[in-house]
C-alpha cells in the first residue's frame, strides 16, 4: 500500500455559494471569495502559499484566454509559480491532483488550488457546442451524449425505470443541507421529479445538472503543516488519474476501462480492498442521475448490473445509507463546470474533517472524491482520511 512521496494534508477548504449568476462579483472577486475562505480555514495568509494551481473548463465560457495570467494578482501569486490545468469536466479533480503532486514531490510546502467557472458571462450550451464547420450538428448538449450510454445501462442491468429519478430526488434533498448548493428546492416532491419534462430520453429536466457560477478552493500542505494545524485536517491516502480514447471499436462506454483502472489504482494506494465497506462517504461526479448507479458499479462499490439496487434500497442516502453518495447535493445540485470536480474532492475532505455541517456523515473517517470529463474518458480520483496514512 501507500503513496510514495510526502504525506499531503488538506488544511482548508473554501467555497462560494453556487448559483446561476454571481452578479455581485467580478471573476477575480469570485475566485478570491473561495480562496480567502480556504486560507482562513487553513489559518494561512497569502504569504504562506508557495504556489497556486488553478483549473477550469474551456476559456470560451468567460471569453478570457488563459485566465491564470489575469488572475495572478488576485490570487496573491505575484512572484510565485502558477499552473493552469484543463482536463474537461474532470478538471477540478485533476487540478487538485496536480496541486497534491507539488506537495508529494516535495517541491512546495503549501499550495493553494482552485477551480472556478463564471459561466453566466456567456451561456453554457453555447460554449459547449461551438459550431465546427463540415460537422453534422445534432447533439443538443452533454445530455445528448450521455443518454444513449444510460439507455445501454438500463437495458443491460434491467434497472427499474425510476432509479434515475430516485437519485435526482436524493441529491436535491441532500442539497437542502448544504448552504452552498445552487439548487435549493425544499418543496420538491418525488412525483415532480418524475413528471418533469423529458430532455434526452430517458433523462428528464429534473435529472440534469444546473449551470452555475462558482469557485472552490483548498489549501494543501505537507506533513509538517498537517501536524501543526490546529483544526482537523484530511490526509490524502491515494490519488490516481486515467484517460482513454473516446470512440474506438469495442469500447465499454457504460463502464470505461479508464474508470475501472483509475479506481483500482487509487484504492490500492489507499490500502482499500473492499470499497463498499471501507469508504464511509463518496462524492462522485454525477451530472445526470443514472451515472450514480453506473459509477457505483464501475468504481467497485457494487457488482456489475447491481448498482441500481443501492439506490433503490437507500444505501446511498445520507440518512440511513451505509455508503452515502453526494451528501453535498453533488453536481446535480451545483455545477460550475471548472469547479465541480474540485468540489467533490473538497467535500470528501470536509467529511473526514467532520466539517460538513448539516450534511455530515457521522463518524466518517475515509472518503472518496471522484471527477470525470470528456466523453467519459478522463478520470481523477482521490481517497482522503481522518488519520495519517
Amino acid at each position: 500500500m501507500g503513496t510514495l512521496g510526502e504525506r499531503t494534508a488538506v488544511l482548508g477548504v473554501g467555497q462560494t455559494k453556487y448559483q446561476s449568476t454571481r452578479g455581485d462579483v467580478s471573476i477575480a472577486g469570485l475566485v478570491r471569495e473561495a480562496a480567502l475562505r480556504a486560507l482562513e480555514d487553513a489559518a494561512c495568509t497569502w504569504a504562506d502559499v508557495d504556489a497556486v494551481v488553478i483549473g477550469k473548463a474551456p476559456d470560451f465560457f468567460e471569453g478570457l484566454m488563459m485566465p491564470e495570467l489575469f488572475l495572478a494578482d488576485a490570487l496573491g501569486c505575484v512572484g510565485k509559480p502558477i499552473l493552469r490545468v484543463h482536463t474537461a469536466g474532470s478538471v477540478g479533480g485533476s487540478t487538485a491532483l496536480v496541486a497534491a503532486s507539488l506537495i508529494q514531490g516535495r517541491i512546495h510546502r503549501r499550495v493553494l488550488t482552485i477551480g472556478f467557472e463564471k459561466q453566466s458571462e456567456s451561456n453554457a450550451t453555447w460554449a459547449l457546442s461551438l459550431p465546427q464547420p463540415f460537422s453534422v450538428s445534432i447533439n443538443a448538449g452533454a445530455g445528448g451524449y450521455f443518454s444513449p450510454i444510460i439507455r445501454r445501462y438500463m437495458a443491460r442491468s434491467g434497472a427499474p425505470e425510476l432509479i434515475g429519478c430516485m437519485v435526482a430526488f436524493k441529491d436535491r434533498q441532500h442539497a437542502l443541507r448544504n448552504p452552498y448548493a445552487h439548487l435549493q428546492q425544499p418543496d420538491l416532491t418525488f412525483d415532480q421529479v418524475v413528471e418533469a419534462p423529458m430532455l434526452w430520453d430517458p433523462i428528464r429536466f429534473s435529472e440534469t445538472c444546473p449551470s452555475s457560477d462558482g469557485a472552490c478552493a483548498m489549501v494543501l500542505g505537507d506533513e509538517e503543516a498537517g501536524d501543526a494545524a490546529e483544526g482537523p485536517v484530511a490526509w490524502v491516502h491515494g490519488t490516481a488519474m486515467r484517460s482513454e480514447a473516446n470512440n474506438f471499436p469495442g469500447r465499454d462506454e457504460v463502464s470505461p476501462q479508464a474508470s475501472r483502472d483509475c479506481a483500482a489504482e487509487v484504492f490500492a494506494k489507499a490500502g482499500i480492498t473492499d470499497p463498499r465497506s471501507e469508504i464511509d462517504v463518496a462524492e462522485m461526479y454525477v451530472p445526470f442521475s443514472w451515472y450514480e448507479p453506473m459509477w457505483l458499479e464501475s468504481l467497485g462499490f457494487a457488482e456489475r448490473d447491481h448498482g441500481w439496487r443501492m439506490v433503490e434500497d437507500g444505501s446511498t442516502n445520507l440518512d440511513g445509507g451505509d455508503l452515502p453518495v453526494n451528501c453535498s447535493g453533488g453536481v446535480l445540485s451545483s455545477n460550475p463546470i471548472g469547479a465541480s470536480g474540485m468540489i467533490r474532492f473538497a467535500e470528501a475532505a470536509l467529511q473526514v474533517r467532520g466539517m460538513a455541517g448539516g450534511h455530515q456523515v457521522e463518524g466518517a473517517r475515509r472518503a472518496f472524491g471522484h471527477a470525470y470529463g470528456g466523453g467519459a474518458q478522463y478520470f481523477a480520483m482521490w481517497v482522503v482520511g481522518a488519520d495519517k496514512p
Binding site: T21, R22, G23, D24, V25, S26, I27, A28, G29, R32, W46, A47, F60, E62, G63, A72, D73, A74, L75, G76, V78, S120, E121, S122, W126, L130, P131, Q132, P133, F134, S135, V136, S137, I138, N139, A140, G141, G143, G144, S147, P148, I149, R151, R152, A155, P197, M198, L199, W200, D201, A245, N247, F248, P249, G250, R251, D252, E253, P256, Q257
Partner: protein
C-alpha cells in the same frame, strides 16, 4: 469526380466565427471605474501607502490584499510609451490608424492603456501630454473614452465636454454600474485535413469513406487519419455501405441552436455502418420515435442529386430497412467482440 489520394487545388474551407456578447459583472471595484467613466470621470484605487492604481485594481499585486479606496484622478496626463496601429485591429473601437499608449494620468501612479487620436505617427511622442475625449452618451465602458488627444488641441471630434455630457438625467443619482458587455468575435479560416477533404468530397458523390487501421483492420468513420488506440497513422480509405444499424440512440426534446430545421422531439443515433467498427451520430427518421431501438437496421436517405454538396449533411437521415435487428449483445461497440476481438 473525386480524385482519391490527392488534394484538390481549391480546397474545401469555411469561415469559422466564434462570437458572443459576453456580459461581465464587475463587482464593486471595477464597477466603480466603469461608473466613473459613465459619469465622465476617471477613478483609481488608492493603496494604504498612497499609491494610486489606474484603472482601479481590486488587489494589491504585492501583498494579495484587497484595495477598496477609490479616488478620482485627472483625465489628462502623459504618454509613457506608445505604438502606432495601422490598420486598426478588427473588433477595436477605432476605424482609422491611431496611437496606442500607456498614459499616466495626473494623480495616478500607474499608466492605463488607451488610444491616442492623432492623424499620423509623426505626431506621437513619449512625454506628450494628452487629455481624455469622451463620448456624448456613455454607459460605463472603457470605450466611453473615445481616446486621448493632445492636450489643449481643439477637441476636433466634436464631442461635448465631459462635465456637461451627462447633464440629462443626472448621472450622480443613477445606480452604480454593475455589468458591462464586451463582445468578442474571432474568425478562423477552417480548412479540413486532407483526409477530411477526401471524405467530404466523396460525400458529394454519395460515397461514405472510412479509414482502415494498419494494426488490425478496424475501420473508423469519419476518417481522421489515425487509429486512436495505438497512435498510428491510418491512411487506407475504404468505401462503406450505406446500410448499418443503430448502436445506440436517444430521443431529444431540446432544440439545437442553429438547427431550426430539426423539429423536436427527434431521435439521434450512433449509426454503425456495415463495414465500420465505430459509430457516428446521425438522425433517425421514417418511423415512430418509439420504434427506434438498439440493433435496428437502417439505411441512408440521401438528398436529391442536385442538392448534393461536399458534406455529411447529404444524408438527410437514416431510415429503418425492415430487416431483422442485430441482437443487442452484438450491436454498436459490442459488434467488435462479435467479430472475435476482445471487448475493452
Amino acid at each position: 469526380m473525386v480524385t482519391v489520394g490527392s488534394v484538390d487545388p481549391a480546397p474545401l474551407r469555411a469561415e469559422l466565427v466564434i462570437e458572443y456578447p459576453f456580459t461581465r459583472t464587475t463587482g464593486p471595484v471595477v464597477g466603480a471605474f466603469m461608473t466613473g467613466l459613465r459619469d465622465g470621470r476617471i477613478v483609481g484605487s488608492r493603496r494604504a501607502d498612497g499609491r494610486v492604481f489606474v484603472p482601479t485594481a481590486e488587489v494589491d499585486p504585492e501583498t494579495g490584499d484587497a484595495i477598496t479606496d477609490i479616488v478620482e484622478v485627472s483625465s489628462a496626463g502623459v504618454v509613457e510609451t506608445w505604438t502606432w496601429v495601422d490598420p486598426p485591429r478588427p473588433g477595436s473601437p477605432w476605424k482609422a490608424p491611431h496611437g496606442l499608449a500607456l498614459i499616466r494620468l495626473d494623480g495616478a501612479d500607474t499608466p492605463m492603456l488607451h488610444g491616442v487620436l492623432v492623424d499620423s505617427v509623426a505626431e506621437m511622442s513619449t512625454g506628450m501630454r494628452v487629455e481624455a475625449i469622451w463620448r456624448d452618451e456613455r454607459v460605463g465602458h472603457i470605450t466611453d473614452l473615445v481616446g486621448f488627444a493632445p492636450e489643449g488641441a481643439d477637441a476636433n471630434v466634436g464631442l461635448a465636454p465631459r462635465e456637461n455630457a451627462s447633464a440629462e438625467g443626472g448621472a450622480v443619482a443613477e445606480e452604480p454600474v454593475r455589468s458591462i458587455r464586451t463582445p468578442i468575435r474571432l474568425e478562423y479560416d477552417f480548412i479540413p485535413s486532407a483526409a477530411a477533404q477526401e471524405y467530404l468530397r466523396a460525400y458529394a458523390d454519395k460515397r461514405i469513406l472510412g479509414n482502415r487501421s494498419p494494426v488490425d483492420g478496424a475501420v473508423f468513420v469519419p476518417p481522421r487519419g489515425v487509429d486512436p488506440r495505438h497512435g498510428v497513422e491510418a491512411t487506407e480509405m475504404v468505401d462503406l455501405a450505406h446500410t448499418g444499424h443503430v448502436g445506440n440512440f436517444c430521443v431529444t426534446h431540446l432544440p439545437i441552436p442553429g438547427r431550426n430545421d430539426l423539429p423536436t422531439p427527434y431521435a439521434s443515433a450512433w449509426i454503425h455502418l456495415d463495414g465500420a467498427d465505430i459509430g457516428f451520430l446521425g438522425l433517425v427518421s421514417g418511423c415512430d420515435l418509439d420504434e427506434v431501438r438498439i440493433g435496428m437496421r437502417v439505411r441512408a436517405v440521401w438528398k436529391s442529386d442536385d442538392e448534393l454538396e461536399a458534406t455529411a449533411e447529404n444524408v438527410r437521415y437514416w431510415e429503418p430497412t425492415g430487416e431483422p435487428d442485430v441482437p443487442v449483445e452484438q450491436a454498436g461497440n459490442q459488434a467488435w467482440s462479435a467479430k472475435g476481438f476482445p471487448n475493452a
